[in-house]
């Protein structure tokens, strides 16, 4: 296990810039890795049968980045073959089809990365101080799975 420190590539980030799965996976680059997986959360165009115009994401950035890092630590403690993790979440106004989050996990071999990335998505949705406001044609609402 290795988790990069703050002065190396930023692995746990809240950003307002558009996301690229390739770019986030690229942050894990390491000759030791033989497998990497990227989960991409995408803005869906419809919820409860209602067309969505856009989503607006808001974060408590300092706490959110710490929480994302904490999720990385939990993963490395549980899945020992995982080499590196990156979690990058976007905030601001996102249109349908845009990526809201990219979670990348790498390892020498693939066996544990699928479970690890699933855990990361579930855990982010549970504890990260990030909020989503859904906007449709005749209103808007803050949505949570909690």
């Amino acid at each position: 296990m290795k988790l990069s420190m703050a002065n190396e590539k930023k692995l746990f980030e809240i950003t307002s810039h558009p996301l690229s799965a390739d770019e986030v996976v690229g942050r894990l680059a390491d000759p030791a890795i033989g497998a990497a997986i990227a989960f991409v959360g995408v803005v869906r165009g419809e919820t409860d049968g209602r067309p969505v115009l856009c989503l607006e994401y808001e974060a408590y950035p300092e706490m959110a980045e710490q929480t994302l890092r904490q999720i990385g630590v939990e993963i490395c403690q549980h899945w020992k073959t995982v080499r590196e993790i990156a979690i990058v979440h976007r905030v601001g106004r996102l249109d349908v089809g845009e990526a809201s989050v990219v979670i990348a996990v790498s390892a020498a071999h693939r066996s544990e990365i699928f479970d690890a990335v699933r855990y990361a998505v579930d855990r982010l949705k549970e504890i990260a101080p990030i909020w989503k406001r859904e906007v449709w044609t005749d209103g808007a609402e803050w949505r949570s799975e909690a």
Partner: protein, 81 residues
Amino acid sequence: MKINVKLFAALREELDKREFVQELPQGATLGSLVERVGSKYPVVRAHLSSLHFAVNHKYTTLEAVLQEGDEVAFLPPVGGG
């Protein structure tokens, strides 16, 4: 002592403010801060059962004792991902 309160999402919208400073007696708990803010802003009181709280970026329970300059965030139900 002065506590920096930060608001997010629905609370931030409904109170139309991102943050404010709350005066509290020395040794006050997070619970007493929540009580005081709830009585000042009925909309906070209305949301109380669904809120979580963080002190200096860490989830914290109501028994915690606050210090001068602490940053306390009132966190509505999260929706990241």
